[in-house]
Every structure is written in structure tokens, then in C-alpha cells.
Amino acid sequence: MSWMHSWRKRMNNSQNTFAMPPGSDIAWCPGCGNHMLLKAVKGALQELGIDRNKLVMVSGIGQAAKTPQYLDVNMFNGLHGRALPAAFGIRMANRDLTVVVESGDGDMYGEGGNHLLHAIRRNFDVTVIVHDNMVYGLTKGQASPTSQRCMKTPVQPRGVLLEPFNPLAFAISLDAPFVARAWTGDVEQAKQLIMEAIRFRGFSIVDVFQPCVVFNKLNTWKWFREHTCAVPEDHDPSDRQAAFRLALKEDKFPLGIFYRNERKRLYEDLAGNERGPLYARPAPGAEAVRRMIDSYR
């Protein structure tokens, strides 16, 4: 009861502060990049002044996917790899909602690869934040699609043999209209990019480099610091070819906005059918029903 009471108090206080829900405790390791990313996301939501009642955070399964648990928001924490279809359903059911997906490199690029491909083609309004630690964290250190060649793991004793997945080149090849990369060593930039992405009307993806201090001994804080650089000042994000070229750069991975296509039309607009949230839609009209049934006479 007293707990109930403090919950209620807390709830009112936490309105739109995106504080931790009472009683929760962060399950991430000390030193993990996720903490910084959580900070960036929280900062972005606060600065954008988003009404948490109109925000849904959607996630799959993995360390990254736990993020919404720590923000006291509407949350659909679904299946591993399946955040995007759920996000699509949510957005189609209620276009008043801001939908943000939190996902890991395994979740989004491994199990969820097909949905990413087709969600980009759909271009509905969603922001996808991928915590890219180049490893499967929650399942204890197997290679992920973005694991670098030769990284050894218990399941890859010869080192990773597959070409690392390049999410930016992939997204640009599919003409995803907002494509950016950040990293957890620069929370401010990450926050800014996430804000840009959420503001963008359409499909936006921010791949965020995030060290997994336990299972990824290759791509450490230091490694990321040394292997990243800024997107060149003169880069024109509306130039798809240039964006693609930038995405292929792998000696130092650029951070910033790679690609931005303002000309794409939103799926929601094309699909029409704007009658407010589905939960509030009235029963089918008697007249339309009669017409439908009469067509079988």
C-alpha cells in the first residue's frame, strides 16, 4: 500500500522525465556502453519534450532491447528480432503515437534482417536505434552480423569467417531516408542524432557503436575511439552515391548523418484511411454493411 502510494507519487513526478520506473534495476554490466546510450536516448526524449503518453518504445530481445524497461514509457518488449513488425502494427493502429525501436545488432541485423529490409521499403514513421556492440551480449559472446572478421568466440574458434554486415551501406542501398551512425563515447552527438532521427518523418535508423566490455575484447572503448572519425564537413547527406561511398569506409568509421532523403513519401500518407486511432473507430456503418451484403444477392 505504501508502495502503491509512492508509485503514484513517483508517476506524477516522472511524467515526461523518463526516469527509471520504480522498482526496476539496471541489468547491464558496469562499464557497458548501453548506460551511455540510455542517457543519450533519455536526453533526446527530454529535449524533444515528447509526451510519454504518446510515445511507444518497441524492442526485441537482447541487452540493448532492455532499454525501454528503464525509461518508464509505453513499451512493447516483443520477440527477438521482431521489433519492427510490431512497431509497424502499433504505428498503423494509432498514428498519433511516436514509435521508437531499441534493438541490438543481433536482434536487428541477424534474426530481424528481413523485417529491417522491408520496413525500410515501407517507410513508415519510426526511429530505429541499434545498439551495435558487434557481438551477441545477452547470450554470452557469439559473433553477431557486425562482428569483425577474425574475432574469436566460443562458437567461432577460427574467428568470424563471414563478411561483417554493413548496416549503413545496406540501408542506403534500400534508400532508407535517414541513416546515421553515433557512438556511446560521444553521448552528446548520439543524443543529437537520435533527436534528428525522431524528428524525421519517415524511417530513420541510427546505428550506435557500443562497447560490450565483457564479451567483445576486440571492439573496446579504445578501439572505437581510434576507429571512428567525423563525417566530413563537406559531405552532402542528400547525395546517395556519396553516402554509399562513405558507408564503405572501414578504416575509420565515420560518425554523423550519412544520408537524408526528404523526398520520400510516408507510408501512412500513401495508405490513406485517416480516421483516427483504431481503438476509437466506430463499428462498421450500417449502410456500408448493407451494401456489402446486398452485393451477394
Binding site: M4, W7, R8, M11, N12, P21, G23, S24, A27, R52, N53, K54, V56, V58, I61, K66, P68, Q69, D72, V73, N74, M75, F76, N77, G78, L79, R82, L84, P85, A86, F88, G89, I90, M92, A93, N94, D96, L97, N114, H115, L117, H118, A271, G272, N273, R275, P277, L278, Y279, A280, R281, A283, P284, A288, V289, R291, M292, I293, Y296, R297
Partner: protein, 568 residues
């Protein structure tokens, strides 16, 4: 030669040859004449060529079953007879174009020079009208009536089309008129009164109408025969009824989109067939975990794997019953007729909403493609049950209650926060690792089974169950064939039960089964419902009548099986 109250016409042709257009003319005309008509279709998994058939039954009382024995056959493809041999009886009239059949010509056939007649009418596209008019001529339907029908149907397409069709109809009628008088099909006089009030409807349309009446406003699905029809139906009516309809990239996306939408307040449905449904199972499990209503239509077809994509089977009951890992509640409907589909669909949505569970609709190719006359009054519009609340500030999505059901809020409606979690969670929907919370949540998810059982639809009784010592039990699409066979048999010793809801079963109906011989008939290889029935009731099944060739049971099949019963 034939029963004038029950005539069975079969139209055979290659895919693309226009059989559907023929029956599309024949059925409404016969309906308007006050007859009951029933039509079912079997076709190959190809778009052109091969050999498909549509059966049309014209009867004076409602019949909704496949009959094997043919009274009148129009055979259009070269190899028609290879497949239909077994269905031709001494009295069957077989019409075919001798020129087309070539070496396959058989002396007993009646030569209808289709090619010539249609080119006289203006070209090959008029062949269907020639056939339809020939059939109508044989059935004694007034040619004026048909030409009025053609006019109505084709007016939109311009005068050329109307006159071409009229010419074709004249040629068809004239051809029949020229036959020897012995070649005819007798029907009772038209009973024009009844027809107008009736509807002519296929199973897929019934499913779609049911969904619309149920307030369904979201569908995300991936095409798969025979489940695709519902997606097509709702897509084409999306604007009329405010439905969001989306073709997903795969079945996994479909069900997850459905659940996302339902979480946000949609009345969601997905449609597929067994193989696609396999891929949805993790989603079903998620549905169980997040207690979010969804209706899942499985249009059954023969498996395993791709199996026979365009054929029929009742083979996915066991799958629906056990889909998704973990223990949670669910319900399964398997309506047996067009009217029942409409009603069951509404029940399915209401039940899913009330109990916050996945509800399955099991149909099959045979039932979905079958067309029949139903009374307009049989289209029941049930009250919509929607139980979404406006959330208070301290809302808990998984609040513990006596019946295990927590008031359902959706994000953005009210001042509460709505969380659902695929992980085990507490009342707030936040992840937990407490064993005690786990125990309570498992119980919460299962408690509702009790109430679900109590509201389960009892089986429909066919014939006089009270007096019978043998019960012929069926579910889903076999209702029509069992009704007809029992009617023909007319024995008080055997009655039937049809389960429209196959899970859970209402214990109130178990006493019906006591001390009877239990015979279960179903369209699969092992007797999936028989297993379920005896598991749930504890009553052993004495006999299983099974068929899994990809064809539906025919009236004759069931009669033969019942003869064994009466002789035992």
C-alpha cells in the same frame, strides 16, 4: 435417371478456360429461380492448363455437400475423363467437344461443338456463355430470363459484350433444343419466391463479412492458399470499413504486426495456412504472454510442408491446439457452413477481446471455395464486445484479479503507461525474475480456461440425438456432408453432432456422449479431433472415418461408411 430434386452438374476444364465464369452465371440464375444451389471446386496448383472441376448442385432443399455422382458433365479439357471416371454413372450425361477431345472421344458422349459455337458468337471468350446457356437450356430455364441476366451483368462493359453474350446464349439454347428429347434434366418448376431473399455466398466472403461485422480493423498477412482470400477481401474493402490492410514480408512479420496493432487497440486478424502458421507460432506464444487479443485464421490444406497447395484437409487442428511454447489459454472455432462462418468469426473476435487470448478460426480449401445459397436472415450481426478502458495514472496492464483478466488499456488512451513484455513480468509489465511472481503469472494466464470452457459453444445436434445409439461426430467443413448423409439415411439409431467450437469443449455437453457408440469423421490421416475429444471427455472413440487424399468427403463416402454402421 436422376433425382429431379437434386441435380449435380460438373464443369471441367483447364485452368484459365473459364469454368468459374460458367458457374458465375449459372448459380445466380438458378438461385433466382428459387432453387438452393451449392457449388464446390477442386483445382490444381497451376494457373493455366491441367484439369479442374466445379460442381454445381441444384436442389429443392438446402444441401451443402460434395456429391461424387454426376448427373451432367461438361468436359472441356483433353484429359478430363482420366480423373472423373469414377464419378460417371450409367445415367450421367457427358457433354464434350469432339473436336477438342480428339482420340479421347468416347462414343457415349454428347458432342457439343463449343469451338464452332463460340466462334460463331464472336470468339473463344464466349465459350462460357455457350456452356452456361446449354446447361440452363437443359435445366429448362427460360432463355429470356438468361438474356435479362446477361444484360444486367454486362451492361457496364458496353453493347458489344452484351450482344456477343446474347448471341452465345442463343446458340447454346438452340443447340440444346436440337438434341433428342431423351437428353434432358428435369427439375421441379421454379419457385421464384424464395430466391430473391437468399444470398449466394462463398466461404471466403463469409469469413470477410464476419470480420467486418466483428469490427475487425487490422489485417497483416502473407499470401498463402487457401488463406489469402481473407486478406484480399479486407484489402479491397479497406476504405469502406476503415480497415488497415497490409501484405507482410513473411508470416512472422504478419503476426507480430497484428500483435503490435492489437496492443495499440486494433481488432486484428491474420490469415494463413498450415505452413505459414508454423512460422507464426512464436508470435502465438508472445500473444499468450502479453495477453493481447488476436484472431488467427488458418485455411487448412494438405501437409506436411507444401503438400497439395490447392487441395483440402482438416489437418491443422493439432497444430492450432498446441501452437507456441509455454502454457496459456486459447480457443478454436471450426464453423461448418457459410452462415456459421459469419457468426463464428464474430464470436472469435469477441472471445479474443474478452479473454485477451489468441482465437483460431479453422477453415479449409473446400469450405472457403464452396458457394451456396443462404437466407439473408442467417447473416447474424452480433453485438461488438470491445473492452478497452481509458487508463488511470496508476494503470497496471497485468493487474491481478480473480478471473485472471486485467482491464485492457492501450497506449495513448488515458493517463497510464501500458507495458507488455515478452519476458516474464510483474503487474506493471516490467521484467521480473521473481519465482513467486512467475508462479502467479502462470496461474493468471491459465485461470481463464475455466470461464472459457463455460462459455464454449455446445455442439449442434443433427437429427435426434436423444434416441440415437450411435453418434457421428464432425467438426468444421464436414457439417454439410454429415447432415445430408444422416438425412438420407433417416435412421433414428444414428444421429450427428457438429462442433463449431472445437476447443475448449463445454463440459456441459459431455453427457451427450455417454453410452453411445462414438464415430468421428474428419478429413485428416490420424483423427486429430477424435484424439482431442477423447482426451477432453475421457470417452473413447469407437471408430474414426478418415480421408486424407486432398479431396473432401462426398455424400457417397459418408453413406458408405454409415452403411457399415447400420449393418453392424
Amino acid at each position: 435417371m436422376h433425382d429431379s430434386e437434386d441435380v449435380c452438374l460438373v464443369f471441367e476444364g483447364a485452368a484459365g478456360q473459364g469454368i468459374q465464369t460458367v458457374t458465375g452465371m449459372l448459380l445466380p440464375v438458378m438461385k433466382d429461380n428459387g432453387f438452393h444451389v451449392f457449388s464446390c471446386t477442386e483445382y490444381m496448383s497451376r494457373i493455366r492448363g491441367g484439369s479442374n472441376t466445379t460442381e454445381v448442385r441444384i436442389t429443392t432443399r438446402p444441401r451443402a455437400a460434395y456429391r461424387s455422382g454426376i448427373d451432367l458433365l461438361f468436359a472441356m479439357s483433353r484429359n478430363a475423363l482420366d480423373r472423373l471416371e469414377g464419378r460417371i454413372r450409367p445415367g450421367t450425361l457427358v457433354f464434350a467437344d469432339r473436336e477438342n477431345l480428339g482420340a479421347n472421344w468416347h462414343g457415349n458422349f454428347i458432342d457439343i461443338p463449343l469451338k464452332r459455337l463460340s466462334s460463331e458468337a464472336g470468339g473463344g471468350i464466349f465459350a462460357d456463355t455457350v456452356i452456361a446457356s446449354a446447361a440452363l437450356g437443359l435445366l429448362g430455364v427460360d432463355s429470356g430470363q438468361f438474356s435479362a441476366f446477361l444484360k444486367k451483368r454486362f451492361t457496364g462493359k458496353g453493347p458489344e459484350v452484351v450482344s456477343g453474350n446474347n448471341r452465345a446464349a442463343e446458340l447454346g439454347y438452340a443447340f440444346i433444343a436440337g438434341l433428342s428429347p431423351g437428353i434432358s434434366i428435369e427439375l421441379p418448376p421454379p419457385m421464384a419466391s424464395g430466391g430473391g431473399k437468399r444470398l449466394l455466398m462463398d466461404g471466403t466472403s463469409a469469413l470477410g463479412i464476419g470480420a467486418v461485422l466483428a469490427g475487425c480493423n487490422f489485417i497483416s498477412s502473407y499470401p498463402m492458399s487457401p488463406g489469402t482470400g481473407l486478406l484480399t477481401f479486407l484489402s479491397s474493402r479497406a476504405d469502406d470499413f476503415g480497415v488497415v490492410a497490409d501484405q507482410a514480408e513473411d508470416e512472422i512479420a504478419a503476426i507480430n504486426a497484428g500483435l503490435g496493432a492489437a496492443y495499440a487497440g486494433a481488432r486484428a486478424v491474420v490469415t494463413t495456412s498450415g505452413g505459414g502458421f508454423d512460422l507464426m507460432q512464436e508470435g502465438v506464444s508472445l500473444c499468450g504472454m502479453i495477453e493481447t487479443p488476436i484472431v488467427i485464421h488458418i485455411g487448412q490444406r494438405p501437409g506436411p510442408a507444401t503438400g497439395l497447395p490447392t487441395r483440402t484437409e482438416q489437418g491443422d487442428l493439432r497444430l492450432a491446439l498446441n501452437a507456441g511454447h509455454g502454457d496459456f489459454a486459447r480457443a478454436i472455432f471450426a464453423p461448418g457452413s457459410t452462415a456459421e462462418i459469419i457468426e463464428a468469426m464474430q464470436r472469435a473476435f469477441n472471445l479474443a477481446d474478452r479473454f485477451q487470448i489468441p482465437v483460431f478460426m479453422l477453415t479449409d480449401q473446400y469450405l472457403l471455395d464452396a458457394v451456396c445459397t443462404i437466407e439473408a436472415s442467417a447473416v447474424q450481426n452480433m453485438p461488438l464486445e470491445i473492452s478497452i478502458i481509458e487508463t488511470p495514472v496508476d494503470y497496471r496492464r497485468f493487474e491481478f484479479t480473480d478471473d485472471g483478466l486485467s482491464p485492457r488499456g492501450v497506449p495513448g488512451h488515458g493517463s497510464g503507461i501500458v507495458r507488455v513484455d515478452s519476458d516474464e513480468h510483474d503487474e506493471h509489465g516490467l521484467i521480473t525474475e521473481s519465482f513467486e511472481m512467475r508462479r502467479k503469472m502462470v496461474e493468471k494466464r491459465l485461470t481463464r480456461m475455466q470461464a472459457l470452457r463455460e462459455v464454449a459453444l455446445p455442439p449442434a445436434q443433427i437429427g435426434s440425438v436423444e434416441d440415437a445409439d450411435t453418434l457421428l461426430i464432425c467438426w468444421g467443413s464436414n457439417r454439410g456432408v454429415v447432415e445430408e448423409a444422416l438425412d438420407i439415411l433417416g435412421s433414428d439409431r444414428i444421429a450427428g453432432l457438429h462442433f463449431t467450437q472445437v476447443y475448449p469443449l463445454n463440459p456441459a455437453s459431455f453427457p451427450l456422449l455417454d453410452n453411445r457408440r462414438i464415430v468421428v469423421i474428419e478429413n485428416n490421416a490420424t483423427g486429430q479431433f477424435a484424439d482431442l475429444l477423447s482426451h477432453e471427455t475421457g470417452i473413447p472413440v469407437d471408430r474414426r472415418i478418415l480421408k486424407s487424399t486432398g479431396e473432401p468427403f462426398s455424400v457417397e463416402d459418408v453413406m458408405d461408411a454409415l452403411m457399415e454402421e447400420t449393418h453392424e
